[in-house]
Amino acid sequence: MTELRYLAPNSLDEAIKAFVAAGSAGRILAGGTDLLVQMRAGVVKPGLIVDIKKISEMTTIEETADGGFRVGAAVSGMALHDHPRFGKVWPGVLEAVNLIGSKQVQGRASAGGNLCNGSPAGDSVPAMVAAGAIVTIQGPDGRRELPVEQVPAGPGRTNLKPGEIVVSFALPPRPKGSSDAYLRMIPRTEMDIAVVGLGVSLTLKDGVCTAARVGLGAVAPTVLLVESAARALIGSKLDDAALNAAAAACSAACRPIDDKRGTIAYRTKVAGVLLKRTTAIAAKRAEGN
């Protein structure tokens, strides 16, 4: 049995150096709500755990001068909830992050971990996709940026290269008349894995939708950016014809599995229903902005 070592470096450079040196035996620890369960179950047996919570860039929420936000990848859901401004500007992203697990889990779990865990049903991911979040990644070859929808590669897999760490999410400034929303379908009211999850971010001007993005989760091997649904909304007054077209686009984008939580037919139908409901919430919020 390999010996487990624990490191909690203060700098990203130090973290990456250790992470690279450990190779496939290295694991990044943010909130640990996935990692510790996997270790306990014997699914992963890391030789090195790199705790990134002492790196300030990864645990801070910054409102940038242009009105955007930079959220450290290891910021917990509870810290995001407690930020005085974030939930006012990005209520959909916040409600998605705050659907991850219990209050205890939210005290530790992060959007960065949710993304890197690679689950197609991760709640924060469709909302981040809808928000147009850009992920900053740092590795042995320096920094790069990726749209959040390009990070997942399949269930439990990401497009991160060896030694790379997700550092932060950058959310763009919001034009007037913008808001977002996230809904997930589960068979109970709390603490379950999404059967379908859907995020919508949009901008309204004089009642006309001028910009929209739709993120769709739990219906394909990765969370999807559904551009065809957004195109159906943009230019419309979010009338029935536009909503029906966008809902149909979401259903058409589905490539789900059958499992105990939902059948293929059910997930495909619910994706369209959620598009309509989520858009209505986002539009109502946008009217007030």
Partner: protein
């Protein structure tokens, strides 16, 4: 495995212990630290019986490595009563029989206390959502929710 030396603060008292790098905080509490009030129900973050606070943040101690507690302020169920004087939540849980077997109780109390510190006047819905990560297989939750609501009302009146 080489043991790691950890220095932390538990219930206001400076504390140090030795642990393996892969020990959970719950392992350390119940083992070397002898604080067995936090219970292991599921060991996977589902049941909340091991709830503690870290820097006033409610967490499952089974989902935290013991080594992560270095330099932080932890509070466990053992820090809830002041000597022989029970915390109002503990007193109310007894009066209203909000427990049966008791395995979930310390986690319920720690989580409820964390709620009332953030929100002294929670609605019933807020209590139920807040405690969704604390499973009880005996009471059916109703007595627990009522005890938390009653305690909140009494604490506000004081």
């Amino acid at each position: 495995m080489a043991k790691v030396h950890v220095t932390t603060t538990i219930n206001g008292e400076p504390s140090e212990f030795l642990c393996e790098p892969n020990d959970t905080m719950l392992d350390a509490l119940r083992g070397p630290l002898g604080l067995t009030g936090s219970k292991e129900g599921c060991a996977s973050g589902d049941c909340g019986a091991c709830s503690i606070t870290v820097d006033d943040n409610l967490v499952c101690s089974c989902l935290m490595l013991a080594v992560e507690s270095e330099g932080h302020q932890l509070r466990t169920i053992e820090g809830m009563a002041q000597g022989d004087k029970l915390h109002p939540l503990q007193q109310k849980f007894l009066e209203m029989a909000a427990l049966q077997c008791g395995i979930c109780t310390s986690g319920m109390l720690v989580a409820s206390d964390a709620l009332l510190k953030r929100n002294p006047k929670p609605s019933e819905e807020e209590v139920r959502f807040w405690l969704a990560g604390n499973l009880c297989r005996c009471t059916g939750y109703d007595k627990i929710v009522r005890a938390v609501m009653d305690t909140a009302a009494e604490m506000r009146a004081q």
